[in-house]
Amino acid sequence: MAVEQELKIELGKQGVFVTTIEELYNWGRRNSVWPMQFGLACCAIEMIATTMARYDLARFGAEVFRPSPRQADLMIISGTVTKKMAPQVVRLYNQMAEPKYVIAMGACAISGGPFKQGYNVLKGIDRYIPVDVHIPGCPPRPEALLQAFITLQKKIDEQSLTGENRPRHLDAEAQGEFPVPEQGEHDLVPPSNPGVWPVQIK
């Protein structure tokens, strides 16, 4: 049962703070999303520039970039995913602990980008793992990455703890690990994961 905004403010003036467990839970989660150090190509340099002094990403809660997937919450796929690298990306995603999020940064991660007509280019990481936020651009500006981060934070805010739309880590039956593709003789086997691709827009 949510409390009205004006009542909250009135009570707040008296020194009484009202909230719901859901808000508190999500507030804690979204203000400490730790990304994984995962740069593939040119977008990685813009990602590094976003963490540097001018466009500081740390003030949004992404304080540390953890190299180990076990300790990270967010995977920013920055750069072209090639078919040689794709099994490793999916394995790393599987190794991350729930709750985990994915930002596809740049045109290459969304759909193959300028290198789409390639025999070694995976046409979007969407084909194997679910992606939460897509950032277009080649490369997207650091401000665009900050915008994506804030969008992810808003998305986390809106996740409810119970009911149909609850996030994966609170749902015992949800699929958290995705099958890793094999490198076949001419292409990856299978070429996409039918459970994830094509993306269903709800």
Binding site: E46, M52, A53, F115
Partner: protein
């Protein structure tokens, strides 16, 4: 910290790296460093065989960023490949553009107006400064400095990227050179801003050096590590600061006399020992020389057009023939080899990647060292995976 043992055997002609006999009992540990690794500069993998901490064998594995750049060229037009050259060595996009424009201009015999040549030199030397600063920043970060030198380097880099953005429209993927000149002229306001940035660069390099050059930890970790002999360097086709760190005086700006580099007075720093410290010092000194070139170029910039009026832009179909054009990119010799059979697309388009060829000697340099030193030696080669794998 040991160098390569005396009991290594070297095959005459250096067609393969020396073989190190592991001492002591126990089996070798096979470790794969990468492709996801905090200090491999991207998606690069090294298969190491370790005897304790010492490296006994190192096989690099490439291809994790192979985006078939050369095949795209066979269906895209000559001008259509210019934005793709930005994405080769993605930290220095303007020098990539220049190398490609130079190769195509050689193919068709296209002249470039003087003002455009000066602007090319200015943008290339700015690129060189920010590339060397970033390279040193990443090298020191891998040494364990947790990002502080990198922050200093990126602070300077942001100022230079602001200049690129106001001139070309993009921070990193500039797509600025054309066959016969540059796309857009520089304005007086841009020149003023550049002069301000260049005036602040010597102080930045001084700050950097004060932090690093006399630093005990840096000297202890990098001197004597990863020694590259000059004769092996020449035979292996190594170019750029890695070659000059080993003492070989070969700078393509001085050898080929391309562009108008003859008009500028600059020196070529050379190293004595060929270790990681020498490569670091060569990069610092090259930054200072680049600042000198920038000051001279900004003073002498003439007026005139920035694009040759007779340059053919629409319907660009070079006559059948081939050409190889190269420049001194910040990483080494960046060359483009084009074969034309008269069509609108190149028949064969080849990039000579300095980073890949500099990695030929990675195994020779790393044998006998500890794993921690492998990270440093690899960082001193200064590679970018977009260029290695294309």
């Amino acid at each position: 910290m040991s160098l390569v043992d005396e009991k290594t055997e070297r095959v005459p002609g250096w067609n393969r790296p020396p073989v190190i006999a592991p001492d002591g009992e126990g089996e070798l540990l096979e470790v794969s460093m990468g492709p996801h690794h905090p200090s491999t500069h991207g998606v690069f993998r090294m298969d190491l065989s370790l005897d304790g901490e010492r490296v006994v064998k190192l096989k690099p594995v490439f291809g994790y960023l192979h985006r078939n750049h050369e095949q795209i060229a066979e269906t895209a037009s000559y001008l259509g490949m210019m934005p793709y050259t930005d994405r080769l060595d993605y930290i220095c996009s303007l020098t990539n553009n220049w190398a490609y424009a130079l190769a195509v201009e050689k193919l068709v015999g296209q002249a470039v107006p003087e003002r455009a040549e000066y602007i090319r030199v200015i943008t290339a030397e700015l690129t060189r400064v920010q590339n060397h600063a970033s390279a040193i920043g990443f090298l020191i970060q891998e040494m364990g400095a947790s990002g502080t030198p990198l922050m200093y380097a990126f602070k300077e880099r942001e100022k230079i990227l602001d200049l690129f953005e106001s001139l070309t429209g993009s921070r990193m993927m500039c797509n600025y050179m054309r066959f016969g000149g540059c796309r857009v002229d520089v304005s007086a306001a841009w020149l003023d801003a550049t002069r301000k940035v260049v005036a602040g660069l010597p102080q930045f390099v001084d700050e950097f050096e004060a932090l690093l050059t006399g630093n005990e930890i840096l000297m202890a970790r990098t001197q004597g590590v990863g020694v590259l002999r000059p004769d092996l360097a020449v035979n292996a086709g190594v170019t750029g600061p890695m070659l000059r760190g080993s003492g070989v005086n070969y700078d393509i700006r001085k050898v080929d006399h391309y562009g108008i580099y003859d008009r500028f007075k600059f020196r070529v720093p050379l190293g004595d020992h060929g270790d990681v410290y020498d490569r670091y010092m060569v990069r610092i000194l090259e930054m200072r020389e680049s600042i000198g070139i920038l000051e001279q170029a900004l003073k002498e910039l003439p007026g005139g057009p920035v694009m040759d009026a007779k340059a053919k832009i629409r319907g660009f179909r070079p006559k059948p023939g081939e050409a190889y054009g190269r420049i001194e990119a910040p990483k080494g010799e960046l060359g483009f080899y084009l074969i034309s059979t008269g069509g609108a697309e190149p028949y064969r388009y080849r990039v000579r990647p300095p980073s890949l060829i500099n990695l030929t000697v990675l195994e020779d340099m790393c044998l006998g060292h500890n794993v921690a030193d492998v990270v440093l030696i690899f960082g001193s080669v200064d590679i970018v995976l977009g260029e290695v794998d294309r």
